[in-house]
Amino acid sequence: MIVSWKWLQRYINLDQLTDAQVAERLSLSGLNHESTQVLAGDWAIDLEVTSNRPDCLAHIGVAREVGVLFDRPLQVPNPQPQATGPAIESLTSVTVECPELCPRYTARLIRGVKIGPSPAWLQELLANATGDPTQFKSINNVADITNFVMLECGQPLHAFDFDRLHGQRIVVRPARDAEVLEAIDHKSYTLQAGMCVIADADRPVALAGIMGGAATEITEQTVNVLIESAEFAPGSVRNTSRRLKLASDSSYRFERTIDPIGTDWASLRCCQLIIEHCGGQLCAGVIDHGGAKAERTPIRFRLDQIARILGIEIAPAKVRRILEALGVKIDEGNGTVVGIWSATPPSWRRDLTREADLVEEVARIHGYDKIPEDHAVPMAVSRTTPVDISSQRVRSVLTAAGLSEALSPSLVPSVLSELYSPWSDRPTMATLQPMLGVLDTKFWNNAGPVDCVRRSLIPSLLELRRINEFRHHLPIELFEIAKVYLPGDSFPVEPTMIGVCSGRSLLDMKSVMAEVFGTIRRGLEVQVDVVSDSFFAPGRGLRYRIGDQLLGLMGEISRSTQKKMKLRQTCVVGEFFQEALVRNLQVIPQAQRQSLYPAIERDLNFILETKVRWADLESTVRATGGVLLEQVAYRETYIDAKRDGEGKKRVLLTITLRSLDETLTGKQADEICQRVVSACEEKCGAKLVTG
């Protein structure tokens, strides 16, 4: 809302005040000051008006605030135009077919006006209130006056050329589907059933509360003028405005509600100014459908609530002065109940309905700066949650391993959503609105809208990899910790996942993840199975478990995945359930006793079938090694078909043996090795190479 300093002075004495002083106080009482334009002999002050304060979308409303803040009286005009014409009912009629869309409709008629330019003072105020007078275009005296009254009191008005209304009457009704209206912006709008229109006997002549129609607008030929001052339902105005993509100063105010009592005042004020500046004869009476709203309900206001909410005491006399200056009527009762008032808010403050609303009014005028900000707030402990602890451990290992954290949008196009969904077979959930401007559309020209709520982080991470590859930024080592959304019966399940994407080898990434799991709980036993999943290269997809709990997946992508994502290089991707880690989190790591005795290491060189997996060999060694087995370390695999035959390999491993209580003897070590070798031969067909 742009306020002209000069205009404000019509209602309040601003002597001895500067624009900066006023703007500052308004900012600190709820009308945030955006900027001030210095104009010839005036200031245009731009104020941000929150949606609960439509009364301040007008100069009188702002003047009232200034009056309360600086303790100066407000003078509001009292329009009493003389009606010298015949009764309005004898000349026209108004029918309201949809009172739910139009709670009140008033019409007055002025005959014999002379259309011409507006007086200079009016043009100047209207121009200054745009903030940029050079851009202002005066329309004509009648149209300018309706705009003036709107900017004066906040009630939008419309003036019809009465003679061009078919049947000389007004019908407020829902639009019929596909009716067309040419508005005064000279664009045609196709209406939809249910929109509220002002019609004459035959056709719509205005979009209720939004814009008038071209057919009945005021022109130089206009002689008789019908003045509409009405109240339209905010939701209806908003929906129509949105659907037609047509907003106006009028719709802006109706959407925020107008002063229901002020409707008639605005009509009178408008008529008074028209008679004064355009001549003409006002017809007697008014057509008023709906009438003024009933009186406001008084609010029970307990004064002790001020201290209870604000933390400071404010003298009752001051409270009373503030509220009364804002237009609230105070009744302190008959004195039997001290400290409880009956407070009736003014019609233009529909936002005031409860005690809490009055406390806020008192607080903002008294000044938030009067409330201390060095109060003794009681101390309280807070704690770091297990989720945060585990996330921090995951992040510290992954960043130490060279992976950087990425954050990517939760919505993806269907092409990415369908690329891979390891955790849900149900169709992805879609949003009505897509995300705009988040997709590399140069690459994804047929990806469709970004409206799928993602079920996995893996497609997103592959997309990030593709973008970075395209920009030639290597290496690309990324992880993301974020939710995925797995469709459920009513609400989706939203597990938080840890996604990784790396250019290093699958085995190297396995080691990184093993370190991650080790920081969650030292010695956490994680099982890894090779899975058959065409998203991954054959034999290179792994499923992770902790006992029966699913932990996640990781693997090297298959060639077809690589091709679909147009990746130049293969990569490893993985995704793990954070909750599985949180469930196994050891919040406080516990010290274990370390042996002070020397270890004995033995190398075991086995010949076995190529198809035997290390995991089986290792678990056999571990199962038979007993308590003295400290470590099983893989050394290398060696394949020599000539020496060992087709389909055979040699695997060298080292076992470390150590006791907590004594120095082991060679004999003890030999016995353990013997057991291990026998078990490996029996379970895995492994033959020990000797000599």
């Binding site: 600190l28 709820g30 945030n32 929150t50 949606s51 609960n52 949105r242 959407e255 209870r308 909410i309 604000l310 933390g311 409860r354 809490a356 806020e360 903002r364 938030y368 700066d369 409330i371 201390p372 900000e373 060095d374 109060h375 707030v377 101390m379 309280a380 807070s382 704690r383 770091t384 949650t385 945060d388 960043t399 130490a400 060279g402 950087s404 954290e405 990425a406 954050l407 949008p409 939760s410 959930m429 879609a430 949003t431 009505l432 995300m435 705009l436 401007g437 988040v438 973008i467 970075n468 920009r471 290496p475 690309i476 080592e477 990324l478 939710k483 959304y485 009513s490 609400f491 989706p492």
Partner: protein, 342 residues
């Protein structure tokens, strides 16, 4: 031979030997010195020792005592020199080695700047006694709007301003308790927490929120918010101002001016906007207010018994100012060069 002459010879022998052993730089030099001074046949000590016979009987004890002292000093000098030379290791000179060459590339990854900002916010609020809570991102319209005192026909519910699900029960008006939308604010978590816990409460919730702005330099359809809530008996606006002042001081530093001005949010009454003065102008820091009694009623708290305050702020703006990031889209493009900066 007179005693003084004998003593003089002894002293000079001792001094010579001490210097010779100290000066020896190689095992060969030390061996030569050993033979010179301690040689069994022709060593100088031996020669001086032989002169003892020519000392008078009366002087002999004194001469013998001195001889033994010098002898042991020479022997210990030799011992010290031997140990010193044994510890000498010859250094290998390798002119092909260039210590100015770089080593193998070794990089750590970085935590995303948004996460770093979130961790900082959690840290500051943690010190003020606020514990993080989490909630779902896919919400029903009741938690996202109704419980927060947003009227059924409020513009904030507009389908164009929210990510409603295609399967939602309501789009734009009305209330439902089914999966309707991606949450538009983290305040939903306040409601869920209050439904589950009784006061006193001191919580923060941080996370992703969604509004369908087209992505540009300053907008992104997904962003992060921090929401805080404190509820107890006797919580006042003085508590609100004090906590937010402490928070602002911790985040921005002591010298940054902060102001509190009235604003409007459906879920707080009175409502506050907090600004800080930065580069010559007031910048919005976040919104706050005393919890609206209707919000308490919607979760079954009695507004006559408890009061509370809530605040919320956008993480992106704080993060961008902190790190000098000019385009919000950079945060979500995840260019590895961008990420490596933090």
């Amino acid at each position: 031979m007179s005693l003084p002459d004998f003593i003089a010879q002894l002293e000079s022998l001792g001094t010579d030997a001490e210097r010779a052993f100290a000066d020896a730089q190689t095992a060969e030099q030390l061996e030569a010195a050993r033979i010179e001074f301690l040689g069994a046949k022709a060593g100088r000590l031996k020669s001086v020792q032989k002169l003892l016979g020519s000392i008078s009987v009366a002087d002999k004890p004194a001469a013998g005592k001195r001889l033994n002292e010098v002898k042991s000093a020479i022997e210990s000098g030799f011992q010290t020199a031997t140990e010193r030379l044994e510890n000498v290791v010859e250094e290998v000179v390798d002119e092909t080695f260039d210590a100015t060459l770089p080593g193998a590339t070794w990089t750590t990854g970085r935590v995303h700047p948004i996460t770093q900002t979130i961790l900082l916010l959690k840290d500051i609020m943690g010190r003020l006694g606020f514990t993080p809570v989490e909630g779902p991102e896919i919400e029903d319209s009741w938690h996202n709007f109704d419980a927060l005192n947003v009227p059924t026909i409020h513009p904030a519910r507009d389908p164009l301003d929210n990510f409603y699900l295609a399967s939602a029960a309501v789009w734009g008006s009305g209330s439902s308790s089914g999966a309707d939308m991606l949450r538009s604010q983290t305040s939903t978590v306040q409601i869920r927490t209050m439904q589950q816990q009784q006061p006193p409460l001191r919580i923060i919730s941080l996370g992703r929120v969604y509004r369908p702005d087209t992505a540009d330099e300053t907008h992104y359809p997904m962003f992060h918010q921090m929401e805080g809530l404190m509820v107890d008996r006797g919580v006042t606006m003085a508590d609100l101002k004090t906590v937010l002042r402490l928070f602002a001081t911790a985040y921005l530093g002591n010298s940054v001016p902060v102001r509190f001005r009235p604003s409007f949010f459906p879920f707080t009454e009175p409502s506050v906007e907090v600004d800080y003065y930065w580069n010559g102008r007031w910048v919005e820091f976040g919104g706050a207010g005393m919890v609206d009694p209707n919000v308490f009623l919607s979760v079954g708290y009695d507004p006559e018994h408890v009061t509370g305050f809530a605040f919320g702020l956008g993480v992106e703006r704080l993060c961008m100012i902190r790190h000098g990031i000019r385009d919000i889209r950079d945060l979500y493009t995840n260019d590895v060069r961008f990420l490596a900066q933090f």
